[in-house]
Structures are given as C-alpha cells and as structure tokens.
Amino acid sequence: MRPTHSGTMSKVKNKKRNLEENEDEQLPIFDKDGGKDGHLDDGDEDQGDLSDSEESVFSGLEDSGSDSDDEEEEEDDDEEEDGTEEKSSDVEEDKAADGDGDDQLSAKEVTEPQTDGQHSKENKKKKKTAGKEGGEESVVSARDSGLQTSSQVDEYEHDTSDEEDIRNTVGNIPMEWYKDYPHIGYDLDGKKIFKPIRNKDELDEFLDKMENPDYWRTVQDKMTGADIRLSDEQVDLVHRLQEGKFGDVNFNEYEPAIDFFSNEVMIHPVTNRPQDKRSFIPSLIEKEKVGKLVHAIKMGWIKPRRPKETTPQYYDLWAKEDPNSILGRHKMHVPAPKLKLPGHEESYNPPPEYLMSEEERLAWEQQDPEDRKLSFLPQKFACLRAVPAYSRFIHERFERCLDLYLCPRQRKMRVNVNPEDLIPKLPKPKDLQPFPTTQSLVYRGHSSLVRSISTSPSGQWLVSGSDDCTVRFWEVSTARCLKTVEVGGAVKGVAWNPNPSICLVAISYDDTVVLLNPGLGDRLVSTATDQQISSYEEPEEVKEQPVQWTVAEGEGHEQGHRLILKHPKAVRQVTWHGKGDYLACVMPDNGSSLQVVIHQVSKRRTQNPFRKNKGLVQCVSFHPIRPYFFVATQRYVRVYNLIKQELTKKLMANCKWISSMATHPGGDNVICGSYDCRLAWFDLDLSTKPYKVLRHHKKALRSVAYHRHYPLFASGSDDGSVIVCHGMVYNDLLQNPLIVPVKVLKGHTITHDLGVLDVTFHPTQPWVFSSGADGTVRLFT
C-alpha cells in the first residue's frame, strides 16, 4: 500500500512543483520518495537520512567489531548492510560504493519484510560470539560493550512475546534462579553459558566507580551477566527516552502535517476499484420488509397516527392559589366582628357587685337603649331552674345578624391627598424681597379725591391731581407739599415727563391738557425746558389741527403753566412716551373717531392716529422701547405698530370692562385691571389670552402699575387696598413669568365707595405710592 500511496502523492507533489518552482520544499518525506523517483542530487542526502533513521538499529549490529563509529562509517555500514543481506556478517568486509545507493535502497525496500529474519540470524551469530568470548572476557572493553548494547538494543527492538531470546535458552524466567550457579543458562547448543567472573569486592567496586570514567554508563546484562558499557548513542537514546522524547534523533515530531484528503479534487480516485454489482440492484431484504409493512397496513394491522384531540382543556385558575399570597383576596379579608364573651353580669347568680342598685336601675331605665352600657338588667335567681326564658333572645340574634351583615367586608384604600400639596409651589414672599410692606408716609393736603399721581424721573418729587381742582407737588422723602397749582377743573390725569432732561408735567382737566413746568429739580433743566418752549417758532403753513395749542401767559405762567391744549372733548388720561416728546391723550367717547390723540410737544403738532375707533377707549400706553401703541377698549387691548400703521395684535382680556393698563418696562408683558375685580397678565409672546388672571381684589380695580426696575407690580382697587405682586419676567424666552402676590397694603379709607384710585411706583426704590378717594397719597415702603 505504501508505495502506491507515496507514488500518488509524489506525483501530486511534482505537479505542484511544476506549478510553483520557487516554493521551498516543505514536505521532506515525499522528497525522499521524490528523490527515489529520479532526483538524484537530492536523493543522496535524503536517502542517507532516511536509511539512517530507519536502520540505525542495524548499524549497531553490523558495527560490532568495526573500528570507527563516525558518520561516514555508519553510512557505509548502511549501504553494506542493505546490499549484503546474503553476505556473511563479516564486518570489515565491505565498502560499498555510494553510487548504487538508489538501487540498493529500492532493493532494501522490497526486501524489507525479510529484515526480521535477517536480524534473528545476526542475533544468533552474535550469541555465538558472545558465548565464545563469554568465559575469557573478564572486562568488557568499552567498544565491546557498545557492541553488546547495540545488539541489546536491537534485541529489545525486535523482542516480542512469541519470540524468544535465542542467546540464552532458559526462556522467560526470573534470572535469580541461576543466582547460585556458575552459569546463567544454556545456549542453542545446550551448552552452559557461564557467568562472567565476578571477583570484584566492594573496594574494587568503589575504585572502579572512582577511577573508571565510564562507570556510570556500565550496566549488567541480566541474560548474560556481562557488564556492558553503553555507547554515546545509547546513552543519548536513554536520555531521550527518559525525557519522554522520541527515540530517534532524526525524527521530527513537529513535521508539518500533510492533509492527505485535501480539498483539492484529484483526478484519480484513491481506490480504483469498480463498484459492486449490488449497488445497482434493489435490495431484496428491503423489498421484503416493505412488502410486509404494506401488507400489514392493508390488513389494518398498522394504523395511521391517531388524530389529536381538539377538545379544549381547562384548568382551575384558583386551584393553586397561594393562601398567603398578598395579591389574593385575603389581603382584604376582614374578620367578622366577634361577639363579646359573657361576663359575670350575665350569670343567673351574679356577684352582688354586678347587681344594680335601685338608683342605677332607674338611671338605666332613663337612658336611651343605644346609650345603655348593658342591654339587660343583671338579675339574680336562686337556682338555674328558676331562670325564665330570655325574652330578648330573638332581638339579640337579629342584632347579631345585622352586625354581621353590616360589617365592612373590605378595607377601603383611601388615598389621602393633602389639599395643600395640590397647590403649586410658589416661593415665599420673604424670599422675594424687596417689596413695599408698610405705610411710611401720608401726603395730606388735598381736600377731595386724588385721581392721579406721578413721580418725577429722579424720584425726588411726586405730583398728584385731585378733584379739588389743584395739582400738588410733594417732596417724596418728607411728604412736604412744596407747590400747589390751581387749575380750572377737577384734575383727571397727571403725568410727569419721563425724560430727565425735560421738566414738564402734563395735567388734564375737563377738555384741557396743561403742560406745566413745576420748577423743581435741577434749575438748569427747568430753564432749558422753558427756553425750548418759548423758542418755538410757528411753522409757515399751519395745518388744521383737532387740538388748539396756546402758550400760557400771565398768572398761569407764573404758576408754571407753559402750554395749554384745548381738546374738543373731556380728556381722561394723559401719558408720555418714554422719550418725552410725544404725549397721548384719551377722550373716551363711544362711536367717535376722535378718542385718542397724540401730541408732539416740540413741534406742537397733534395727530389722530386712528381713523376709526372700535369701542370705548379706556386707556392707552406707549411701548417702552419699540414703536408700538397699546389701546385698551372695554374688552380688548389692541396693539398697533405706529410705523407700519397697522394692528399687530388684539389681546382678549376675558373681562367685562378694562379700567387700567400698564406695560412692563421690557415691553413684552402687559397687565390690565378691570372693573370686575380681575387683573390680567398678558405675555405678548405667548398668546392673545391672559397668561394669568389674578382675582385678589374684592372690588373693581382702578389702577395698575409696573415698577421700572424691580420685578414688582401693584394694583389699586375700590376696596381700599393695594396689592403688590412679584412679577418676574425672565430673559429666557422659555421661562414663563413668575407671578407671586406678596403683599396687601391697606391704609386708604373708603369714601363714596371709592378706595384707591391710582398707584405708581417710585422710579428707583421698591416703594409704591397710592392715591385714594380720601384725599391722601400714601407711600408704602
């Protein structure tokens, strides 16, 4: 089998080689064979290796007697050995040429099976020689021992159970049996094999041990009793075996594995045997078996699979219910109320202390049946026989049944919600300071209700207009009235010019608006304002204006009047634009097209911004930054863009009648007070509906105001109170304003059902002024 195989593979290999010339030879085994196939140069080396490894065992045998043990010699030996199977075992004889190695090798291969036989012959010969030498050789020379070992090794190699050691014919027995004999067994001829003479005592042994450098490699052959000196190769072999390595030096354990059955499809099959005939003929046995099954089915002995039962399967849902499970209905189990155990008082012969005295009995009878502690009167009987039937028995049973019937069956899981938890969390007013908390000053002097107040931009002065036809100027810090100006009618509105470089106050009474220079504050500013007004020059072409401008003279001028604007109707409100040049006046008149006029003071011009006014205008306000104009009618606030002259937004106040309006200094928020007690906060960015509606006042709101710097707004109402709220507007557009009512300020007395008529904040401090129907102005700080 092997030749065939290797042949095939080598072909493959050759093919491969043809394909890849440069590839290194990685398959040395096949290369040897390849060499055999004709690669002469390589072949020598490989051959040598091969033979060396395979037949080193023989070398020892053949070498016996040879002088040299070097490589060449051995190689020669191999050749010789191969070539001379029939030759005598004379060692020195042959020096075969290397040239015919190939032929010899092939011959050797062919004759391989015979080697065993050859060996045994050689062994025999060996035995003979050994036997001959047996007695004479006292000390085995190193070389001899080497020979011996070689034979020994050879022996060992071919030792099998059925093959006896032919040097000694005693067989496989314990050699101790020959311990006491001079011989150790018998050779093939039946002659005794004598033990080598051992006359060494311990001392000799020791000396030998000390002096003989080869002592350590000297062993005794049990079969012959001779000392054998192991050759270097043998020692090496022993070491290798001890180390668990492969005995052959040249054997490479880690040769790359060759995948015989590779994925490469070969054109030739591994075996070229034709297929059997039976692989083409249907099996008779199978036919028989199938025939039997068919018969059984036909006869009905074998039935097809039974159909599955389609009936539904039920299981008891509650069967395995865990009595201890929390989820069970037992969780809600409420045991029936227990009946009270009978006490001594129920005895037919109770101890005397349980019997009621006369008074107790009377009291018992007086009580309502529900209030009685005992439902019966304890009674004493002389003996059990004397006890009558219990008259209340049915009654008591009924009550017991009623108890059971009415007792609760389930624990109600009541959700306890603290109503205070539902209120949204607002910061505490304490944390929102500063805001006005107490009344600090009262500005007394007016004799009638004070309809309107306004502060100077510096915060030093306060102006108030009253129904007693006067306007008063107050020093804020001391409540001192510094100036009183009389005008020709009940003052409806006052407004201090917010521009600190202009010292003007607009006062409206009846159908007149007076621009008044109070002469307070910086003298320079005051005189500059006067100059600006007096230096006005009439434009050449005079337009028809709805309002008549006149310069005050005489006594009016002495009092500070500078300009007088005569309107066609009664002016209710005046308000300045933030820059201080424009002044808006409101003349409420339902259905009229002239309800709002805007004056430009520097040019003494008046314009009516609206062709038509829808509804009754209540109040107006300028946007603090942008050119917007807020007009509040009864129910709506309209936001107009003054530059584009169009309606931008219409805010639905959701209230019946707007009374007042204020614009946040940022301009994006507006508050509206209404006569139906509401304050609506509009966030213009959010929607046209109020962001928040506050209903803290009990009566109609008269006025609302924002603080210029602090996040505060205030509302004054007919109920005499001012409510200050914290209204924080964040720069972050995503955050809605925070509105927290912080303080109710009371101080004004209600006169003629009117309380607070106007509120305004101090421009720099968190103080709020309020004017009331009681003729006072109050400062809360």
Binding site: G459, G521, D522, Q765
Partner: protein, 422 residues
C-alpha cells in the same frame, strides 16, 4: 420663691458696696434691686440720700424681672450673677419749645447758639433760652441743612444748604447782630441735602440729590470780590446780597442715588450715606473710595461717635443700625435698635457718652438709646406732634429735635443726677 445668688459691683466709687454675694429673689425687678442697694448704702454711710439705680447683667440693662432676663440671655441661675449697677439715667428735662414758621429741616447747636434751617427758606439763630436772635434769609428755596463752621469771638461762620442747589457761607457778628453772605457755593445739580464741616474747620463737604459729594473751602476770601468789581458792576449788586460765587475744590462721585447724609470721620476720611443703600467711606485728600457698607434699605442719616468708633445709621425701615466702619467685610451690622414705627430720619451720638445716642423718626418720637439696652430705648421723647426731621446733641448736654410741627424742642439731659448737680 426662687433665689438667685448675685454680686453687685459698680464703677462709681461713691456707691461701692461690699463685694459679697447676696441671695435675692429671682422675681425682683429694677426697683427692688435699687432698694437693696440703697439699704446697703444707708447701712454703710449715714447721710445717704436715696438714689435710683439701673442694673446691667453682662452688659445688658435689666428691664424685666431678673429671672426672665437671665432666661432670655441664657444665664445660668446656678452661679453667682455679677450685676453692675449705675446711677439711673434721669429723664431728659424739657427746656424750651421754640416755634418756627415752617417745618424745621435741620438743627445744629453749639454751647451758646442754636442754628436751625427751615422750610420757610430761612435759617435762624436762637439763643439757648429760645430767643430769636437772627434770621438768615437769602435762599430761594427750602433750607435743608445748616452747620456752624467756626466761632471766634463775636463773629461766626455758618453754612446753610438749600433745595435751590446752593450752599451759602455766612458770617454773623453777634455783637452787631448782623449777618452777611460771604460766599454762595454753586455747582450741585440737585438739592443740597447735607453738609459737614471738617475737624480743621477749613473745609466742608456737601452731599446732594445729584449723587455727588463736593468739598469746598470754608475760608472766606475777599480777592474774588475785587476782581469782579471792575468787570461786572451790575453783578456786584447781586454779590452784595448773595455773596461771592465759589466753586468746589473737589467733586466725589460714586453713589448711584441721592446722597442723604455726609460726615467727616477725621480730617482725612469722609463718610456718606445714600439712597442707593450704601454707606461709603472716602479719602478726603484723593477723593477715592475706601470701603462700602451695604444695607438693604435707603439710608436717611448717619452719625459717628469717635468715643466708641461706631457709625449709627437711620434708614427707611424702623431700625437704627450700628456699624463698624473699620471692618473689612462691609455689610456687618453690629446691632440694630428697633423701637421706632417709622423711618428713622435723624440719629446723633452723644458727644460725651460712648453708649448713648438719640434718634428721631417719622413716627413723631425722639428716642434716647443706650447701646447696652438694644431691645428698648432708655427714654421716649414724645413731644412732637408731627414728623421729627432733625435731632442734635450738644456737648453741654442739650438734646434738640425739630420736626414738621414747626417746633424745636430742647431737653436738658445729664447722664446722672450727680453729674447734673456738678
């Protein structure tokens, strides 16, 4: 009835008692303790007259029952309590009530004369007996503050500030009883609410509603007069009346709101209080800001005591607060004296006593405080019928207060009876 072990001691040698612990009822009050001390003194000295005493437990005046006081102050009743006693401060005795024509905005008195500023645009000089000596008229608007600059001999220098944005420096000759406007200090762009003269009496500082502090020279000069004589004879007429125009030596800006009160801590340091909720200390030489004390309310007035080196401030809440101007962490309030019901408009430390100050408020009451009794004032002087706008305390023990009821009240106040006799 529980007893407390107490040991009495005093600074006053006249009223020394034995330094032994006494067992006194825990419920005893000031009158009881005073009786105890008087009994002891009578036993020691023969000719002892009854004296009312006041008692201090750990530096705080006893105002309630001893047991209550010790409970609130967390003083153990197990140990011997050290009680200091001082002669009781007698109530200020009202002396004069001087009527004005209008509200009194400011008052300053020295040992002989009282100077008041009024809303009738004049300042007035009064004698101690309440006799009107002189009316200083010249301002065109309300006089907001007045100050004495210097008094040597018969002529005196005085200052008035007004809502008309000017400060006038007047020279008053008391013998001839005539007043002459020496200078008119112009420069402020708002009403000048406060003025203070420096310790060397050569400069003064004014604070105004226009947020500025200005330092001016307080020495009258005549050169300007001559210079202007030739050029503007018409204006001369006016200067005769109004005095020469003077410009500020220095302007200090830094406050964000109106300056309500200004004072000199010493020759180099200025202190100003403002509506912007701050008290600022300034270097008067350079005009630089040294430190800031920040409150949370508008300051109306401040006063500084060199004796205890504390600032007292009155603000638009009802507290008088004490500050340490030296402390670096500027916002430290050492103590607040709370009893007023309205804005505190005026405070003034006692010039002679380191613990006492007087405050006036919009609730019409002037209160006399001892900082050792911060819960309640020593005395309430409830004579005014309207807002109190100004108070002053002279070195010879006179307390003055003026207000919106046009009345100037003076009180004679001596710290104790024995001093009064001396």
């Amino acid at each position: 009835m529980s007893q407390v072990q107490a040991r009495f001691f005093t600074e006053n040698k006249k009223y020394l008692v034995d330094d032994v612990p006494f067992s006194i009822p825990a419920a005893s009050e000031v009158a009881d303790l005073s009786g105890v001390i008087n009994k002891l003194l009578e036993a020691n000295h023969d000719g002892h007259k009854h004296v009312e005493f006041d008692f201090l437990v750990r530096g705080q005046f006893l105002r309630t029952k001893l047991a209550n006081h010790m409970e609130t102050e967390n003083i153990s009743t197990e140990e011997v309590v050290e009680i200091e006693y001082v002669e009781k401060f007698t109530a200020p005795q009202p002396e004069e009530c001087i009527m004005h024509d209008d509200w009194i905005s400011s008052v300053e008195a020295d040992s002989e004369w009282i100077l008041t500023g009024s809303y009738d645009k004049t300042a007035r000089i009064w004698s101690m007996e309440g006799k009107a000596v002189m009316t200083v008229a010249g301002h065109t608007d309300v006089v907001k503050d007045v100050a004495w600059v210097k008094r040597d001999g018969l002529s005196s220098l005085l200052l008035t500030t007004s809502l008309d944005q000017t400060i006038m420096l007047w020279e008053w000759n008391s013998e001839r009883n005539e007043v002459k406007a020496r200078h008119c200090c112009r420069g402020h762009a708002g009403s000048v609410d406060t003025v203070a003269v420096d310790p060397s009496r050569t400069k003064f500082c004014s604070g105004s509603w226009d947020k500025m502090l200005k330092i001016w020279s307080a020495v009258p000069t005549v050169e300007e007069d001559e210079m202007e004589e030739h050029n503007r004879p018409r204006k001369k007429q006016k200067t005769e009346q109004m005095g020469l125009t003077r410009t500020p030596l220095m302007t200090i800006s830094g406050h964000n709101e109106a300056v309500s009160s200004v004072l000199w801590m010493d020759a180099e340091e200025l202190c100003s209080a403002s509506w912007d909720h701050t008290i600022r200390l300034w270097d008067a030489e350079t005009g630089g800001q040294k430190s800031t004390l920040t409150g949370n309310k508008v300051f109306n007035c401040i006063s500084y005591s060199p004796l205890c080196r504390r600032l007292a401030s009155g603000s638009t809440d009802r507290h008088v607060r004490l500050w340490d101007p030296r402390s670096k962490d500027g916002s430290l309030v050492l103590l607040s004296l709370t009893s007023h019901n309205g804005w505190v408009t005026a405070v003034r430390w006692s010039p002679s006593h380191e613990h006492q100050l007087v405050s006036g408020s919009l609730d019409n009451v002037v209160k006399l405080w001892d900082t050792r009794s911060c819960k309640a004032p020593l005395y309430d002087l409830a004579a005014h019928e309207d807002k109190v706008l100004c108070v002053d305390w002279t070195e010879n023990g006179l307390i003055l207060s003026g207000g919106a009821d046009n009345k100037l009240y003076t009180y004679r106040y001596s710290t104790c009876v024995s001093d009064a006799g001396a």
